[in-house]
Amino acid sequence: MIWNNLKIAFRNLWRNKIYSFINLFGLAIGLAGCIVLSLYVIDEYSYDKHNKNHSRIYRMNTSVKMNEFELTHPTSSPVLAATLIEDFPEVIDATRILQLFEPTVIEADGRGFTENNFYWTDPSIIKIFDLQILKGNGEQSLKNLYQVIISEKTALKYFGSIDVIGKQVKMDDSGESQAYTISAVAKDLPYNSHFHFHFLTSIKTHFKNEVTSYNNDGAYTYVLLDEKANAEAFVEKVPGLVKKYIEPSLKAYKKMSLEDLEKQGDYYRMFAMPLTDIHLHSNSIYELEKNGDINNVYIFLFSSILILLIACINFTNLSTAKSAQRAKEIGVRKSLGSSRKRLIMQFLSESILLSFVALLVALLLVELMIPIVNSLLDKELGELYYSTPNLILLFLGIALFTGLFAGSYSAFYLSKFDPAKVLKGNLKSGNGKSPLRQSLVSFQFCITIFLFVSTLIAHQQMEYIKQKNLGFDKEDLLIVRNVQKLRSKEVFKTAFLNSSYVIDASLSNNIPGSFYDGCSLWKTSGDDKKPYSTRFTTADFDFAKTMGIKMAKGHYFSKDRASDKAGLVVNEALVKDMNLTNPIGTVLKTPMGIKTIIGVVKDFHFVSLHMKIGSLIFLHPEGLPQSHLAIKFHKHQKKEVLNLLKYNWDQQASGFPLDYFFMDDKFASLHKSENNTMLLFSIFSILSILITCLGLLGLSSFTTEQRTKEIGVRKILGASNFSILKMLNKDILKWMLFAIIITSPLAWYIMNNWLEAFAYRTTIEWYIFIISGATAMILAMATISWQAWLATKKDPVEALRYE
């Protein structure tokens, strides 16, 4: 019977080629989109699960609010690890990681490499993160100072071999070159790990004496719980640590108790985060690596379901619309003794067959889509796709469900036909005006318009961020790193200032987008004794000029004014934060001594646009370190300046590798991942619109076919082609208007919430809704009119000849 069903199913699909094609193609796109998006979601959820201990590992996070400054960061005090082992019997091991703030340069075999993933850690990292040691002795390899474990890929990159035990690498350590001896080679952590080390060295190398203060909170602390431990109880106990260990130092340092802090609306909290939550639920700017975003996962999961739903609706619509065509077959079968159940089985076999064929097409499409998605999201979905044979079961499941879901309505509907009526031919069905079909179509348009609106708004936000005035001029700005390595950075700078290609050049310790150190400030007059936190930087006298930073009040440091040495330049955010009514001349206490404010710069974005501009102070540059040279050059002279840079670097660097970038590229890369997510989302919106239009095309070709007689009669009575086009479009326009009215407020609400997450956000313009609605309407009308036009071209006599 199944074979018979399949045979008939296949013939039916073959006979109605256009409908089958539309169904097949729509379902295939829907399934492919769904599969790719589920691969993405599965991949995002797979992070850190490769670690056999993953369910027992927690990271200690800190959440702080001080005045205007609010931050959750994934680090805690380096003392905490030992404390946790001591205080909690369930914690059987703990490890800490310290990372570099800025990329450093590592020399190996006489060559230099820019390196970012150099971590200081405890030997227990090997056990906790299940590191596989390929060469050397694991546990012993971090016992002594200046020993390093190198990752397999890094060893191959630096030495071309993994037989590197005993070899040395040199790294800059507080201005001195320090040699490290390789004691082990470890396998790289898989791509779906929340961090990837290249070098691991003992944390003792960093802290020459063991730290005892809780003031420092720069360590990533991970604990391993006992197998029998009650993890929930542990998580609940962690916040209590603050009272016991943090409050004493808070009292000593800020003269405040935890209660005082809470009273003024601030807080200091600590919490344990499961390892497997880190990738999707932790998005601090201080993560070891940029993590994923649970919201993206939800958005993609939701879109994949929507896309599949749209394809299923097409299927249901087309098959019920086609019902009149099949009514006779159903009548004959029933009168010959087929039970309703058997008919249902037959129709379901048809839809399941179709959805399996669609799955085959979808798998081909997936092959094409994976490289695109990989490059957009910086993923390796292919690895997941090909290495997990069980996934095919999931896909088969999705296809089976799709077939059942899409086919069930029409199966139950068609099988209900009364054979007597059907055979007499007075079954009135499929005139294209069924309310169910029309409401399903308008539901599809709700989805489409929603996707349209949200894509447009998201796009507008990205543009807004791109176009936003950064407060400094990022164009034609070349940044050279590691200038402290040169024989003379001043000579190097002068070489550029003397060039006709260069407008200005400035040496500074930080540049916008890099890491800024923080410190505290105090007022020296008035009752306000509380500390204010701020970021600080040093930059030479040409900095404001080179960066195009404007002064709001006072003046920037000048070489010619000796009095500037005791001065301080601050930004507007600080003036506002500290509530300084007359900033110029205000005396502040800083960790660098008592300073007087001589100038206020207008706010500029010194970190990513995801964050509000915080307070910042500029210290007088004399005698302070500078590691960056910023070069402002004339437009269109990029190439010349680069040649000049290479020449001058070789003159000064004695073999140290050159590391440079253009500021506009850097800012573009800061938002690259959002842009790519955005692009992917747009692609899926377009796909959903495509499927919707495909369905509408099928439905309208069917509707016009059904109304051929009516169109013929109307034409004989003198209707013009235009009035017929109008008639055929009228219904759908009504439903679309309904869809627009329903969807717009919903889309506004959801997107407004989404925008709330941005520190700087665009406003939702009313015309976005008009554009989306109009576009959807034009697409729908074009689809329908195409079919209708063909119908009006038909000879009315033909239409009436065959009854």
């Binding site: 005139n431 109307r714 034409k715 004989i716 006599v797 009436l800």
Partner: protein, 256 residues
Amino acid sequence: MQFYLARQLALEKQTYKLKIMIITKDLCKVFRTEEVETSALHDVNLHIQRGEFAAIMGPSGCGKSTLLNIIGLLDNPSNGSYIFNNTDVTKKSEKQRTHFRKGNIGFIFQSFNLIDELTVFENVELPLIYMGLTASKRKAKVNEVLDRMNISHRAKHYPQQLSGGQQQRVAIARAVVTDPNLILADEPTGNLDSSNGTEVMELLKELNHSGTTVVMVTHSVRDSEYADRVIHLFDGKVVSENKHKQIKREPIKEEL
């Protein structure tokens, strides 16, 4: 004298021209499919006068409906010429034919061809909408014609709710609502029982008496007896034309 005769002849020709509504000359229609070429009409020459009631008879497939479609400006002939109301309409575009048709020709079909989604009133109103009449004028005209056809009590019903005879009356109402000069009926009683059929034929006769030209295709000899003239078609050719002048004057009421 010769001059007088010539003038008389010309005058006669002119009045004849005015009296004649439909002239077909060597009308041919060929249907082509990929493989077969079927000649539906072959050199048909017809003159139908204003106010005439003509019936076209013949076996199935003889070209009756094709001829009616060409006369009704729904179709163009393959060859020959067709003069309608003194205008050569042989090679008119579809748009022009629609224009000629509007308000001039009413159609009645065997299967009624009412639009299922529209009520009786709306069905009858349709041609008036296409003629561009205002709503109040349309309403007046539709009500008047529904009254005349004796179906005004059914105005708000849908076609499926009516009997066959009632449906055909609606179709006739729709055909005459524009006061056409010509009514073309394609087997108007084909789907009706005999009493409903007679009713429809009586209506057509009445319309004819009030001055409307009627051309009707029929299989029924009895229906053909209502006509002034019966044109017999066979294999696309006119084989004979009989006049029933007396029948027109003395309808066969007694027979019923």
